[in-house]
């Protein structure tokens, strides 16, 4: 489905993406940590936003990639797409856990609690559990094509399920915990927005860079396994 020459070009493009993302993150961190003024209500703590929000966005991006990739795999049955899904789950677990941890650190000084049963937090925790289950499922299936199909089905069902989880937790929460803490976003000043934009763009580009690297890594791992098992016909490559 994806030809060799296209993959070569993508690989070259990926280097450029890595460099651009590095520059964006550098500018974003500089603006966010040095230039932006302290928040009126939260003080310095609001600067956690500049790592928390981009990581959370990258986590969502990874799950969208996983969903689209899974649909694409079931349609085309191309194992390089499966490598992409596998990679995006691995990178996704990383970004999701960091987003959860930094969110927790941010919640302590602002809401005076490490954890609250907010729909967004619960959906992220469930997302993390789905991704862990996804990777575990993959390690246990022996046949490569079966592994890819089962994993794709799981990813799609999880993606369909997550909105229901979000709404059910939201209903549940309005019933049991009156909204003493508003977790809705507040409008922020332009001086604070600029570094956020840079960080979100930078981390998203970094996500795609990491995704490509990990996809290539998984491809090579399978290639190495095939070569070690004597199941490599040179004409296929």
């Amino acid at each position: 489905m994806i030809s060799q020459s296209l993959r070569g070009k993508l690989w070259k493009l990926n280097g450029a993406i890595g460099i651009v993302s590095g520059i964006c993150i550098f500018i974003g961190l500089f603006l966010g940590l040095v230039v932006a003024p302290a928040d009126y209500y939260q003080g310095e703590v609001f600067r956690i936003m500049y790592v928390h929000v981009p990581f959370a966005k990258a986590a969502l991006l990874s799950y969208c990639t996983l969903f689209i990739g899974s649909c694409l795999y079931l349609w085309k049955k191309d194992l390089i797409v499966d490598n992409l899904c596998h990679a995006s789950a691995g990178v996704g677990i990383f970004f999701t856990s960091i987003a959860l941890i930094t969110g927790s650190i941010w919640a302590k000084p602002t809401w005076n609690t490490w954890w609250t049963w907010d729909p967004r937090l619960v959906s992220f925790a469930i997302l993390l559990l789905i991704l862990i289950g996804y990777l575990m499922l993959r390690t246990f299936v022996d046949d490569r094509k079966r592994e890819a199909t089962y994993a794709a089905v799981l990813a799609i069902i999880g993606f369909v399920d997550l909105p229901i989880v979000y709404f059910s937790v939201e209903w549940w929460r309005t019933l049991h915990q009156p909204m003493s803490i508003s977790t809705r976003g507040v409008s922020i000043a332009p001086g604070m927005l600029m570094p956020l934009i840079f960080m979100v763009i930078g981390i998203s580009l970094l996500f795609s860079y990491m995704l490509m690297i990990r996809t290539q890594m998984l491809y090579l791992q399978h290639l190495l396994e095939a070569k070690q098992g004597g199941l490599l016909s040179e004409e296929v490559l």
Binding site: Q4, R47, I101, T102, I105, Q216
Partner: protein, 170 residues
């Protein structure tokens, strides 16, 4: 795809060294930026040392002592975090919402040893910088390690694949 065409392990290490140096420079810049703002002394130290010039002190507005005047200036007692010592404060800056009963604050001003009173000109909320630093460390250090290990693994794999020979009889 021919892999890692121009890359080698040494190139990776050089690239990552550059990234780490840039990150270090950024950290140093951030630390300098914060030294101006973050450093505040507790009330006990203020009363004991009686420093000259502008200082920043940290404490909590003692409940029920706050008296606000019309022009925004205010008089109140500031107690230390364990509520053992207090110092009277005369605030003469702009009106500020953060000036509330039992609110923890950082005050900038100078100490008058004769009247044992602190004349505050500026009020700011507590920096909580420990949370910021830990959040950034927890986010960025694993990111760097993860990315580095993936890139190294990629090169290692391509080397392994080149070296791996298919099974031959005899």
């Amino acid at each position: 795809m021919k892999l890692g065409e121009t890359q080698s392990l040494r190139a990776i290490y050089v690239r990552w060294a550059v990234i780490v140096i840039i990150a270090g420079v950024l950290t140093v810049l951030a630390v300098f930026r914060y030294n101006r703002e973050v450093f505040a002394i507790p009330i006990e130290t203020l009363l004991r040392n009686k420093p000259d010039g502008i200082v920043r002190i940290l404490g909590q507005v003692s409940a029920g002592t706050l008296v606000k005047k019309g022009d925004g200036s205010a008089f109140f007692y500031l107690s230390s975090e364990r509520k053992q010592t207090e110092v009277s404060v005369l605030y003469t800056g702009k009106p500020d919402d953060n000036l509330r009963d039992a609110k923890a604050l950082v005050l900038t001003g100078f100490f008058d040893p004769d009247q044992m009173q602190f004349a505050a000109q500026k009020i700011s909320p507590i920096p909580n910088s420990g949370f910021v630093v830990s959040a950034y460390l927890i986010a960025l250090l694993p990111l760097i390690l993860f990315l580095f290990s993936m890139e190294r693994n990629l090169i290692r794999l391509s080397v392994l694949i080149k070296e791996e020979r298919p099974y031959q009889k005899g």
